[in-house]
Amino acid sequence: MRPRAGSMAAGALRPGEFLIETLIRVLGFSTVGFVLLIFLFLAREGIPAFFEVPASNLFGQRWYPTYGMFGTLPLLLGSILVTVFAVLIALPLGVATAVFVREVAPRWAREVLKPLIEVLAGIPSVVLGFFGMTLLAPFVREVLGAPTGLTAFTGALLLAYMSLPTMISVADDALDAVPRSYRDASLAMGATHWQTIWRVVVPAARSGVLTAVMLGMGRAIGETMAVMMVTGNAARLPRGLDALFRPVRTMTATIAAEMGEVARGSAHFHALFAIGIVLFVLTFLINLAAARSIFARRRRGGLR
């Protein structure tokens, strides 16, 4: 607890200061207000969809809004397909890079790697999408021999790279939090540095690695522009694993692509907001789970 300076000099509180402190309090609470507003306005425009469109249609397999078919299943599965594969690609790369940077790399390599990863975090998603369209997609097409390079796989690859900075930095923090004594004890018992890393340090940091996966997943499922530009945007139900190498359509891309052309107040308009509600709730749950594992790690006394 920091010393409460104000209470010592409470008598000297000037009228101007009272105003400023009240303002600061209001600003402090404002974030709660913004979250409520977001939910309120998504609900205001999205809830009507559940009355205008029968549930069997809304949870159906066909998304053809011009024919009144609002089946969100292909979009939901499209998002899940791309996100899951992005995480599967990013997890080994992210953990290995974090281990390399924190435990193995010489100082010069660390000084080069960290700023480069920061650069990746700063590249706008539309620029990565543009790169994906013009250079990555033709490459994927050639390698796979597929009719098009704009596939779920291309999207997953791009998303994996976009979630790497988050994953690496969270995993890096988790490795940093493993006490030095763990390493010393392992090395003193004759284990090599390599064995210490994989049998002591990484297992001790596993909750942090889980957090990294969660945050990476939250980032991937909400990503819009890059995904829209490289996945080919076909709202087809992904069936089986070969769907990975076909075009898909995610929830985010659907909103971005269709909202501009839709009549305000129509069932289509409301359905797009309803998809927004699903995204809002989904990312909130993922981030909440990530935060819980951070708190759980703090509570466990052993670390730090």
């Binding site: 000037r14 979250v35 290995a96 620029v127 909400g222």
Partner: protein, 281 residues
Amino acid sequence: MNRRLVQRLGFILLGLVALIVVLPILLVVGAIVVRGIGAINWEFLSSMPRAGMKEGGILPAIVGTLMLTLGTALAAVPIGVGGAIYLAEYARDTALTRAIRLAILNLAGVPSIVYGLFGLGIFVLFLRFGTSVLAGSLTLAIMTLPVIISTAEEALRSVPADFRTVSASLGGTRWQAIRAIVLPQALPGIITGIILGLLRAAGETAPILFTAAAFFLPRIPRSPFEQTMALPYHLYVISTQVPGMPARVQYGTALVLLALVLSLNVVASLIRRRFRRKRQW
């Protein structure tokens, strides 16, 4: 010594993975610089687009992005820094404080396209700002808040508690301590956070899709109630919506956007580095 060999091979493997992670970053930046640099000249940066955006420059997109970023700063900086002061200096561990932290966590995780929907619902339609610089800036500002609040709070917390105690012992009020001592000490950290938040806003497309961005509008907006072109959206338009677009113009636009964002990134890390070196506590 078999395990020594395993270790050596393992370390080499880890190094290779790190290389796999880093090389595409160099590839992306390199490809855009090499292919885009030829398009960059004074005309490209300072004139209006012509001939269906295939010729001429991207001035309105550049100015639009600068206006949106300025608007974002005007709205997000006071709210974000104020919120950070509250959390770092006033808030105690109550249920309300935990609700604020949960809200910030939630705001940080909301997908950018959902911010776009929210901005459309509240600013464009409900408050009747229309598709405008104002609506886009406010949408981007709320998206930027969590970045500014968390970095500013961290900067404020890194100022030692002793500084506040000394101020109080001299008869200063809490606000006097914050204004005269804590804020100036934390300023470089706060500015770094603001830049990081703003560069994210400058590069975002999804939140401005339905709140501010114009497909083609070859003039500079004269008031915050007009819509505008913007660099990220322009790049999206010319790479997906306009057939037969010369690659030179696409890469040139991508390069301008990338240069804007990365140079802000460099400024932020320079401030941070300088600050760390000068700090005496």
